[in-house]
Symmetry: C2
Subunit: 444 residues, 2 copies
């Protein structure tokens, strides 16, 4: 490299998406967008850059550390969005004030977000989030709908085996209250969150030693978070077991009954029962995630992170307004999903769609080549011309490498008769074609 | 506003895109992407954030000033991309080295870019660029193709009246050389660029006084840059006029002949002749834009900026590599186009697609509502349920505001019979419907 050049390189944790993956991603985004719209979510777009105080107000230290934050040309404290939820809270309050939107409001947004995290496999510092949100709802209907949307979307992008796990965090909170450990709940949840990753004994030890919870209560907590449908022979038996918790308090009874109601609706719909299950160990650390929590895992990659998460919040807009606006949020982690499909060998090699390469023999025949190209394109035959009139051998090599099916050659004497030489690159056969209609028939 | 809240606000020059515009934008992007793919451009994605030296090397001060540049968590000098061309140059050199791509390479990319410019009407600090590029081509074919792609894309997104102006800047350069003013050409071009905006006399004065060009040569320069097809009765007469310049030098002769060849091909294609014209006044200030230059204006908004620009470069990758890679770039300024359509009153009010609102009468009937909703959706009838079981009057008000066509009501006694009350919100008529098939017939 000459000292007059700059090294062509990317920042660590960022990446280029090459055509084969980009084509797959675009097709998926189209399907996701269509599915969201079919459930009547409306698209919106918010800026990548916001006032930093809009993004960080009341969020945990963890998020502050992950923020790409800087001063703009006028010394304003600004930051790249780390998610689309906080910008949506800002959007909602601001646009309600401006009377641009009215409640209830259902929106989706598919954009990139930025987090300064340790770059690792399946984790990038810039990634695409496909968010959909119900704003201003306390109804069970939105909980059922969220499961429907997740199910329909993943099915529509050709994912066949996945499980949507759900939990009502309120049950957990009230259970902790009953055990007189509510004020420790955030820390308990953080520890419990590790169950999938570390041994239960270690969690037990940590709860007793760090949080000073009695051995008896730790046992109860762990029994509770281990309540997973998959450990029961059927959903009925599972609900019989969790019904026991109804006796603990009136509030827990209400929340368990809500879960039963959600199931009652789900069972009537055309979603096979094995696609969703209750799992009391799903907690998520952050305190502002309340009520229902959803995580979706791929059955063939159970150790991978969730590919679709969702939560119901009570108070997200409280940063900006005193109005109480509750909502439900969910997001498909598209980049992770694409990586997973690749890992599973399920990502089809999407080739570029061109089928026929027209050899470029001489610049003086360019207009004939263009005319044929235009006609072929109008007949929906994906065609490309080689951009330079170089040696035919080089053009053949290119066609081969790019996996074209045919190469079309116009020799000088053929041009006068509007005839062609067509070579099939799969079997190597070459033939003369005497008119355009015949050409179209052979290429279709 | 309470002192505990943060004001919900955006940065100046940034904006929210509300559903009605976002739906329009998504539909346009889909069409644009399809058109690019039909011409065999492959999509790629590069990071929003790059090393600053990758972006700024050899670019003018103007761009340095417009860059959102800052230090990341590890004190690396980084910046948000201000266009997609420089990142593509980095992408090309890096991925050729990694053998991820091969030449020739045709790619498109539709992403947002960031520029610290004076925020004004039709100009935002974050905006969407729809770029398509041919990499590694010196052929006239790519010049013809660029015009085809611009024409097809704008037609596909329902733009009916526009003009693609083209110029070969080499002709201009060699003409300046002939007049012994080549070393001043960059400044002459900057001044000439203002012709559309200020009076010709002022340009004349500036050229004579600031650039010390003789009165005679200034006359020649201005005569030259005023060569516009629109000032001639037809294209033939125009080419007769510019043929005179062939006598100036062998090089100018070659470039004029290239322009003639491009026209020779274009005339044979199905693009009406009034959609493109040669205009020698199109120059663009930046020195690295060489060869062919394209600008597309909307006929009904001639004073507006170009909605689609293109250039042929000789040496863009020279920042990163000593290889000589020439290419052609073009970009549709989508946000400007959307603003223009809105200005012209051509932007359709795209309503949300929901047609039927199912009233939410009582949470205990939710499963029936969901069952009907699922069935209607499977029959491709866009349906929505009201998220809360509130007063019917409130739900009617919502349906009206959101322009639903029908409201479907399930009274308690009707649920048992699987029958419905359907109200047409346009004419206010209300009727009982006795089975599901009848309901589908009435709604289709």
């Amino acid at each position: 490299m000459s000292k007059n050049t700059v090294q062509a390189r990317k920042l660590n944790g960022f990446r280029d998406i090459l055509p084969s993956l980009a084509i797959q991603k675009i097709e998926m985004l189209k399907k996701i967008s269509e599915t969201f719209q079919s459930f009547w979510f409306a698209p919106i777009e918010t800026p990548h850059l916001e006032y930093a105080d809009v993004l960080v107000w009341k969020w945990s230290d963890e998020i502050q550390k992950e923020l790409y934050r800087f001063e703009d040309h006028w010394k304003r404290d600004v930051a790249l969005r780390f998610d689309q939820t906080v910008p949506l809270a800002r959007f909602t309050v601001e646009n309600l004030r401006l009377q641009n939107i009215s409640l209830p409001f259902k929106r989706y947004a598919i954009w990139n977000v930025f987090r300064w995290e340790r770059a690792q496999k399946w984790r990038y510092r810039e990634f695409t989030q496909c968010d959909f949100d119900f704003i201003w709802t306390k109804s069970l209907a939105s909980d059922v709908e969220i499961i429907q949307v997740i199910y329909s979307t993943l099915k529509n992008i050709w994912i066949e085996k996945f499980t949507i796990s759900l939990n009502n965090r309120k049950i957990m909170n009230w259970f902790f209250e009953y055990l007189w450990v509510l004020e420790k709940s955030e820390w308990i949840l953080r520890i419990v969150d590790k169950i999938a990753k570390i041994w239960e004994e270690k969690v037990e030890k940590e709860l007793i030693e760090t949080e000073k919870i009695s051995f008896e209560n730790v046992k109860k907590i762990l029994e509770f978070v281990n309540l997973k449908e998959e450990n029961f022979s059927d959903k009925k038996e599972f609900f019989e077991k969790i019904s026991e918790y109804k006796n603990f308090s009136e509030k827990i009874k209400n929340w368990v009954e809500e879960l039963e109601k959600i199931y009652e609706i789900l069972w009537k719909l055309d979603i096979p029962k094995n696609f969703y299950k209750v799992d009391f160990s799903i907690a998520r650390g952050l305190w502002y995630y309340t009520w229902m929590v959803y995580e979706t895992t791929l059955d063939d990659l159970p150790w991978m992170w969730s590919v679709c998460s969702g939560w119901r919040y009570d108070d997200l807009t409280k940063s900006f307004s005193n109005d109480d606006i509750s909502w439900v949020w969910a997001s498909i982690w598209l980049d992770r999903l694409l990586a997973a499909l690749d890992e599973l060998g399920l990502s089809e090699e999407k080739k570029s769609p061109a089928k026929v390469l027209i050899a470029n023999m001489d610049e003086k025949f360019l207009w004939e080549i263009f005319k044929i190209w235009e006609k072929l394109r109008k007949n929906w035959i994906f065609t490309e011309i080689y951009p330079e009139s170089v040696k035919l051998q080089k053009q053949f090599k290119f066609a081969d490498k790019q996996k074209f099916e045919f190469i079309l050659i116009l020799w000088e004497n053929e041009i006068k008769d509007w005839s062609f030489t067509l070579k099939n690159l799969k079997n190597g056969e070459q033939e003369g074609v005497w008119d355009f209609e015949e050409l179209v028939r052979k290429l279709k």
